[in-house]
């Protein structure tokens, strides 16, 4: 390569690098923005749940307070009537005592009169028993004695009535009404205070929800902006790569192969279809971390080792014009990277395209170097891992007849194709997502990247129960301690989606051979967490 070409190459590499950095920056910004949206939506859902709970609590406290107020009003009225009754009773007792005394005095006076008549009768009896006076005195004596007898009886009756009236414990009743009223007032104060607290909590929850909604809306707006900027950056990178780097692209990366595509090198002047500029094209797999130092010299050295070194792949079908594309079956080829290392899963790679100019072209320019492209897009090689499937609606564990059992235990059932032998087993994480009623999917962002970030406290690992017809069957238990993806405890009667994340154990350097996968929503994925009534 002559100095001009070298300078051009350096410019291309630097342009692509800056575009790629920009792209990566936007990608990480988008991923961060997506997480921000996720957490903001989580905050909205959490505060909504909090508000609902606070509202329910406040409604209950309202009901209790209403009843306490009604009871207290009645108790106050009752106290008034007990006070009046006591006043009346006190007067009644006095009046009855006076009455009894008056009747006693009257009875005494009648007795005294009867005594007078008795004396008159005795005198007349002694004088003349046949006189008219004697006869009428005898008659009067009979009547007055009878009257005196009745008066004595009435006096006894009056005493009894007075006694009975005095026995009525109206003052004790009033005291009891007072103490009842005191207890009632006290309880009302407590109920009213609890109501106030509950109302404040509900008001606070409303403010929290408002704040969470504002943050959520801002996060959503921010994500939109970044998504637009990312699209633009992708377009810019694509254009730069197309114009300056042969549109070199790696796509369809799989467990054992990937596809490389590029535009062949063209002559800067009138294209001559019969005389291509380059005679051969090779691609070299380079670790992403090494791409900055990978040079034409290294590439040429690798080319000199030949294909037997398995560090290089020759592109077999090249048309002089149009895009070339080749599936590179690196597994079959036992291809190694530029360092001579085996291809590692989870490792980030790029490819370089080495164009070997035709001898004629080289001679014409008197430059015998070949041409090395700038690095392609970065890619990672993984295989699509098995995906778990929910096989039945989560069912409550039957606890009939077991009174010691409190709360509810549910069992989640799912299956997954048996992973290939010889690999580490993946972990199956059951994640419960709060479901808005009537919706067939979660109303917040939740993708693989987010699922991978759900903390250990908020998922339940499935346990294998059996293997059948190439499938492993798993169960996971949900209990009182289970929390949703946001870390909120499950709410009785609320609906949830169940997702299973199949996650492969990684190491410090590499991710696993298989990609992590999230189960699809199916008919069994949504269930209602019914909580048993305690009574």
């Amino acid at each position: 390569m002559n100095t001009y070409s070298e300078n051009l190459w350096a410019t291309i590499v630097s342009s692509l690098q800056s575009q790629e950095l920009e792209l990566k920056s936007f990608e990480s910004q988008k991923s961060a923005a997506l997480f921000t949206v996720y957490y903001a939506q989580g905050a909205v859902i959490t505060t909504t749940q909090k508000l609902q709970a606070a509202g329910k609590h406040a409604a209950l406290k309202t009901k209790v307070k209403k009843r306490a107020v009604d009871s207290n009003n009645l108790a106050n009225n009752q106290l008034v009537s007990a006070t009046r009754a006591d006043q009346y009773m006190k007067q009644s007792v006095t009046n009855m005592a006076v009455c009894a005394s008056n009747v006693q005095i009257a009875a005494n006076s009648i007795t005294r009169l009867a005594g007078d008549i008795g004396t008159i009768f005795s005198i007349l009896e002694a004088a003349d028993q046949h006189s008219a006076l004697y006869k009428s005195a005898a008659h009067v004596r009979e009547l007055i004695n009878d009257t005196a007898y009745n008066a004595e009886a009435a006096s006894n009756l009056a005493m009894e009535a007075s006694m009975h009236t005095a026995e009525i414990a109206s003052t004790a009743l009033l005291d009891q009404a007072k103490s009842t009223n005191g207890l009632m007032n006290n309880l009302l104060e407590i109920c009213a205070a609890e109501f106030d607290t509950a109302l404040q909590a509900a008001t606070a929850a409303t403010s929290e929800l408002d704040a969470a909604s504002v943050s959520n809306s801002l996060a959503g707006g921010n994500l939109q902006n970044i998504a637009v900027e990312l699209d633009a950056a992708q377009l810019a990178y694509g254009t730069t790569n197309e114009r300056l780097n042969f549109d070199l692209n790696v796509s369809d990366t799989g467990e054992n192969s990937f596809t490389v595509s590029f535009d062949p090198v063209a002559s800067p002047f009138e294209p001559n279809t019969s005389l291509p500029v380059a005679q051969d094209y090779y691609i070299i797999l380079v670790k992403d971390s090494k791409k900055a130092t990978f040079s034409l010299t290294t590439a040429t050295a690798i080319l000199e080792q030949g294909e037997s070194g398995k560090h290089i792949v020759k592109i077999v079908t090249v048309a002089p014009q149009g895009t070339c594309s080749q599936r590179v079956k690196f597994g079959e080829l036992a291809l190694k990277d530029s360092d001579g290392d085996e291809i590692g899963y989870g490792q980030s790679y790029v490819v370089f395209l080495l164009a070997v100019y035709t001898s004629a072209y080289k001679k014409m320019l008197n430059d015998f170097s070949d041409y090395l492209s700038a690095a392609s897009n970065t890619f990672v090689l993984t295989a699509t891992g098995p995906k778990a499937d929910i096989t039945a609606k989560p069912m409550p564990v039957d606890t009939k007849g077991d009174k010691a059992q409190i709360g509810l235990t549910y069992t989640i059932r799912f299956c997954s194709p048996k992973p290939p032998i010889g690999d580490d087993l993946p972990e199956y994480r059951c994640i419960l997502l709060p479901a808005a009623s009537g919706l067939s999917k979660p109303d917040f962002v939740f993708d693989l990247a987010i699922a991978q970030q759900v903390q250990a406290a908020n998922y339940t690992v499935g346990v294998r129960t059996e293997t059948k017809a190439g499938f492993d069957y798993y169960t996971a238990a949900i209990g009182n301690e289970t929390t949703d993806n946001f870390g909120n405890p499950l709410i009785g009667q609320a609906e949830y989606f169940v997702l299973v994340l199949t996650i492969w154990p990684g190491s410090a350097e590499n991710t696993a051979r298989f990609t992590d996968r999230l189960s699809d929503l199916n008919v069994h994925s949504k269930f209602q967490y019914l909580v048993k009534d305690q009574s």
């Binding site: 009046n95 009455c99 005095i105 009435a154 009056a158 009535a161 009975h164 405890p489």
Partner: protein, 264 residues
């Protein structure tokens, strides 16, 4: 003795391979420790959350228990009040029966007395007339009928006072009974509202009892949740300890191997 190729630091290739393998194991163990540490951290946070929930549940349980106790005291007080109010009203009814009989009896006595007094006055006039016709009629008799006349007047006057007083007391007793009846009716309503009200809205006591039962149940749920989370944390902590021990042992092994390789 075959000479093995040396690299720049003078370590044989075979030893280097061993060292590399050991290094990879250390890295894997470190990854395992980090992973377990993240799980322990997450579960520690969860335990703290559930401890918070349990503490709130306990507060609520205590508060609702206190309310339930107060409601029970109130209910007992209202029950006692209702009982005593019923007794007072029944006694007042009985006393009023007495008063009623009394007023009847007093009226009868008054009627009889007035009739008798009229005959006594007639007798007195007859005696006085007889004395005018016949001086042999004893002076004592004349004097006695005079006394009787005056006593009759007195007795009628006193009996009328008694009659008036008995009717006044009777009337007041009826008012008192009405006041007690109103009081009793209000106690019954209060009793229904606070203690029990068949077929009506839930009483205050039942509400507060239910609040306590709910709170107690919630407390049990939170206690179970905390226990389960603590168990999860203990298990995770045990795995972390194991991973840490493995890492330490591998690190020691690697250090020793490095030292040996450099010495050899």
């Amino acid at each position: 003795m075959s000479e093995q190729p040396l690299n720049s630091s003078g370590i044989t290739e075979q030893k280097k391979t061993e060292l590399d393998a050991l290094t990879l194991q250390v890295l894997a163990a470190q990854y395992d420790v980090d992973r377990n540490q993240a799980i322990v951290a997450s579960l520690t946070q969860k335990v703290a959350n559930f401890q918070g929930f349990l503490s709130l549940a306990e507060q609520s349980r205590t508060q609702t228990y206190n309310n339930k106790t107060l409601a029970t005291q109130l209910a007992e007080s209202v029950s006692g009040l209702k009982q005593n109010s019923e007794i007072a009203l029944a006694e007042m009814n009985a006393a009023n029966d007495d008063t009623d009989k009394l007023s009847l009896a007093i009226k009868q006595v008054t009627d009889k007395l007035i009739y008798s007094a009229a005959l006594i006055n007639k007798l007195a006039r007859d005696v006085v007339k007889q004395k005018a016709l016949n001086p042999l009629v004893s002076d004592e008799l004349v004097s006695m009928v005079g006394t009787a006349g005056s006593d009759a007047n007195n007795a009628v006057a006193l009996t009328l006072v008694a009659l008036k007083s008995a009717f006044a007391a009777g009337a007041l007793n009826q008012e008192s009974e009405a006041a007690l009846a109103l009081e009793d009716q209000q106690v019954k309503s209060l009793y229904n509202m606070i203690v029990t009200s068949p077929g009506e809205a839930v009483s205050l006591k039942l509400m507060l009892d239910q609040s306590y039962r709910d709170a107690a149940y919630d407390y049990q749920l939170q206690e179970l949740a905390l226990k389960a989370t603590e168990k999860g944390l203990n298990d995770a902590q045990a795995l972390l300890n194991k991973a840490q021990i493995k890492l330490q042992s591998l690190q020691s092994g690697l250090a020793a191997a490095n030292a040996a390789a450099l010495a050899g």
